[in-house]
Each structure stands twice: as structure tokens, then as C-alpha cells.
Amino acid sequence: MEAFFVWFQWLYDETGINLTYFYDAFDRGRMIGGFFTTIWLSVVCLFFSTIIGIVGAWLQGSRLIWTRRIVQGYIQFFRNTPPLVQMYFFFFALGNLLPQVKNEFGFMEPMLGNFTWAAISLSFFAGAFNVEIFRSGIEAVPESTREAAEALGYNRLQSYMYVVLPLAFRVCLPALNNNLVNLVKTTTLAYAIAVPELLYVSNQIWSDSVNVPEMMVTLLILYVALVGLLVWAMHRWEQAIRVPGYGI
């Protein structure tokens, strides 16, 4: 492995192609950290946006008109404003309202860090789309199917778990995938509030080592590979579970 890293040092000396994140252990650590921060941010947002989607879809079926209106307002707000503006709003406007706490070095710092704010704002952003998706998925399952399950002796929860949700999930999956891919692309916006994700650490590295072209190409290839892999895997999954006659 060491020889592999040393080869890149040689590559730099010979050709001037400076891939610091291979031969410099510090940059390597930063790059790997950034890559996993991007993935971790995506996973956290995926998890919370799914929960927001499920809860929102359930609240949209509420009998109280104001509950429905609030959920509708939330969806409209997050669907129609740019995610960058949302992130600034959460980080600068709401972040300033929270009290400051002392950290381990005795300095005052904001209660929630920038990673947390990025996760919150992106979860709400993706969650707004998920609410609508889950709602349509559940609406797509006809009453008669539910009644048939009931006639076979399923109780309410069982018919939901074994009949409605699996069908709804198969209807939702393509739309959810769009949302997930979009979410992974949108994590780059966390750069704007200094979350150390892939774009941000690359920026740090090229500021230190002045190897902008190399870092740019690396960044582009990494993102395209990440998103491409995701799109491909999700497409395979979609094809495997699609309901014949419906969907794309």
C-alpha cells in the first residue's frame, strides 16, 4: 500500500499531477472524512425525510382541516423555494435564535452545529416531497383490496402491514428514488454553511496545495460515480419490484 502512495509522489515529481490525497496522509484523512460526511449526511437525511414523509402523509389524512392546511403549507413552502435559501434560513435565522452553550474548551458555541442544521434543512426539504409521494402511494391502493384483506381475517394493522404498504411501496419507489438522487446532489449545498463534506474538503485541499484542476476532476468523477451507482442500483430494484402495467 505504501508503494502505491509513493507512486503518486513520484507522479507529482515527474509530471506535476499533484494528487495530494494519495501521498499525503493528512489530505487523505480529510478526503476520506469528506466522502463519508457526504454519505452520512445523505443517510441521516434519508432516514429523517422518510419519517417526515410517513408522519406527514398520515397527518394529511387527518379529519382536522387545520392539520391538513399546515401540512399543505409546509409542502408548498419547501417545494417552491430554493434549497439554498432554506439552508441559509435554518442556519442563520433559526440558528441565531437558539441559546449558546459552552463547549469542552470553555468557548461559547451555538447549540446545534452546522452539520446538524444541514441535516435538518435537507431532511425537511426531502421530506416535503416524501409526504406527497407516500400520500399518492397509499391513495393508489383501492378500498376493495383492503376489504378483501379484511374478509380474509386480517385486522387493521395486519392489512396495512401485509397488503397496503407493500403495494404502496412498489408504487412509490420510482418517485422515492428520484427524491433520493436529488437529495444526494443537494448535499453539496451544505458547502455554503461550511459542513466538511466532499466539496468543502476538496476546496480546503486545493486552497492548501493549489492543485485545483486535479481536485476538480477528482470531485467530478467521485460525484458522478456515486450518483451513477445509486441510479443504477435503484433502477435495478425498481425493475425488480414494479407492478405490471404501472409506472416507468
Partner: protein
């Protein structure tokens, strides 16, 4: 793929699938603007400006006059955004249309190459492409002894044109492939060659299928022009930030100013959105 003999699911499933297909074509969520969004923005603007005015007291300049004072500068920035969006859309459409047609070429290398380029730029995040062009394009190019300067905003236009190009390519390919194969076969039987079929039979039918997603893409692009503020182009968002700091960083001016800018974007995008919806209904293919 539509319609089945077994109606196991209600129309919501087909609607969701249709929406997903449309989103896939333009590579992102499509904003759905309604008149009441504009009303809400205006209400927020008026109330926050009122609140800021009440907070400031009598000795300071009124919020309204501050906003009027800076409006010409901000408008200049906004026109800049629109210029970026026009140019990126024009460039992206021309190259993207070519790529899209190449994607159905009969020559395997051309087909595979254009497919690869399309997928590459579709899968890259917009912000990364923007950074790529901002940092890698030179600040001037020399062609036949002429020195052509490339200011920041031109580079940002290039950066935004790349994803537009890839999505236009997908729209064109999707539209051509959505034309029933009977059209190709019958034009062949009427002795049209491939080029004639494409330009005289297939393309005219494609235009109306391509127009709504193309306009949706334009709406997405217009909203994405504010990304250029992250890389320091002096467009409307950057200018707003500068104006706010010129006013002494008053936090009570944040909401009025940003909702003012959002309202401009709304006023510009809303007619486009309405028109797109109308065209979508008008061109809806009955199956």
C-alpha cells in the same frame, strides 16, 4: 407502458408514475407555483418591512426608502441572473438537442458516446459543475490572435449550461422514442429516408412533447442561477448580501430584502409556470 386489463390500483398510481417520469426528464423536482404563493410573499414582505420600520424608530431612514434606494442596483443584478439563464438555456439547448439526436444514431460509437456524455453531466450535481467551470476555465482565451476575456459570469453560464445540455439531450431522446414506431414505418413505406423522416415526420410531432419539459427546465435553471452567488458572481443574491452589509448588517432588514428578491423571482417564474401547465394540458396525449 400504460393501461392494463387488471385495474388493481387507483389512478393515483398512474399520476405518481407520470410525475416521476416528468421529473426524471428534467432531472429534478419541478416547482409548482400558484398565485397564492405570490400573495403570501407579498404579505410577508409588507409585514416584515412594517415590523422593521417600527423597530427602527423615527430617527432612522424608513425601510421603504432604503429598499427603493437599492432597487436599481438589485434590478441590475436580477437582469444579470436572467441574462445568465437565457444564455445557459440557449447554449444548453443547441448542444443538448444535437446530443439527443446522436443518442438515437445508428452508429454505435456516436450513440454510446453521446449517451455517456449525457449521463455524466446529468449525474453530476449542479454546484460541482459550476465550481468546475469557475476554476478551470481561463480568465481569457486567445483565438487567432484575438484575446477574448472570460469574466466570471460567462464561466458561470458555461457551468449552468452543462447540466441543461444533458437534460435537454434526455428530453429530446425521450420525445423521439415516445413517437409510435408506426410513424417511422409508414414514412419508410412512403419512401422517406431516415433524415427526412426525422426532420419532416418525427421532429414536428416531438416539438409539442418537448416544449413543456423544456419550459420546466428553464424554470429550474432560473432558480439555479442564484447558485452563482456561492462562487462569487455579482448576481442578485450576492448584491443583496452586499447591500445588507452596506446598511450596517441590520438583521431586521434580512427578511424584507430576501422576500423582496423572492417576489421578483416569483413574478418572473409564475407566468412561465402557468403557461407550462396550460401547454401540458393542451398537448396531453390521449391514450
Amino acid at each position: 407502458m400504460s393501461g392494463t386489463d387488471l385495474p388493481v390500483l387507483l389512478p393515483a398510481a398512474q399520476q405518481l408514475a407520470e410525475r416521476t417520469r416528468r421529473e426524471r426528464e428534467v432531472g429534478g423536482p419541478i416547482p409548482r407555483l400558484q398565485a397564492r404563493h405570490g400573495v403570501w410573499l407579498a404579505v410577508i414582505l409588507v409585514f416584515s418591512a412594517g415590523a422593521a420600520g417600527a423597530q427602527a424608530g423615527a430617527e432612522q431612514e424608513s425601510v421603504l426608502s432604503i429598499m427603493l434606494k437599492w432597487t436599481p442596483l438589485l434590478l441590475k443584478g436580477f437582469v444579470f441572473n436572467l441574462a445568465i439563464s437565457f444564455l445557459a438555456m440557449a447554449g444548453g439547448t443547441i448542444v443538448g438537442a444535437l446530443l439527443g439526436i446522436w443518442q438515437i444514431s445508428l452508429l454505435p460509437p456516436v450513440r454510446a458516446g453521446s449517451w455517456l456524455v449525457t449521463q455524466f453531466f446529468r449525474n453530476a450535481p449542479w454546484l460541482v459543475l459550476l465550481f468546475f467551470c469557475m476554476f478551470l476555465l481561463p480568465f481569457q482565451v486567445q483565438i487567432f490572435g484575438y484575446v477574448i476575456p472570460l469574466p466570471d459570469w460567462i464561466k458561470a453560464t458555461f457551468g449552468l449550461a452543462l447540466p441543461v445540455m444533458a437534460n435537454v439531450s434526455e428530453i429530446v431522446r425521450g420525445a423521439i422514442q415516445s413517437i409510435p414506431s408506426g410513424q417511422w414505418e409508414s414514412s419508410e413505406s412512403l419512401a422517406f429516408n431516415r433524415r427526412q423522416t426525422l426532420w419532416q415526420i418525427i421532429m414536428p410531432q416531438c416539438i409539442k412533447r418537448m416544449l413543456p419539459p423544456w419550459m420546466n427546465l428553464y424554470a429550474i435553471l432560473t432558480m439555479a442561477t442564484v447558485l452563482a452567488s456561492v462562487v462569487g458572481v455579482s448576481e442578485v443574491m450576492t448584491l443583496t448580501g452586499q447591500v445588507l452589509s452596506a446598511e450596517g448588517g441590520r438583521t431586521d432588514l434580512l427578511v424584507p430584502f430576501y422576500s423582496y428578491i423572492l417576489l421578483w423571482f416569483f413574478i418572473y417564474c409564475y407566468p412561465i409556470a402557468r403557461w407550462t401547465v396550460r401547454l401540458e394540458r393542451h398537448f396531453a396525449v390521449k391514450t
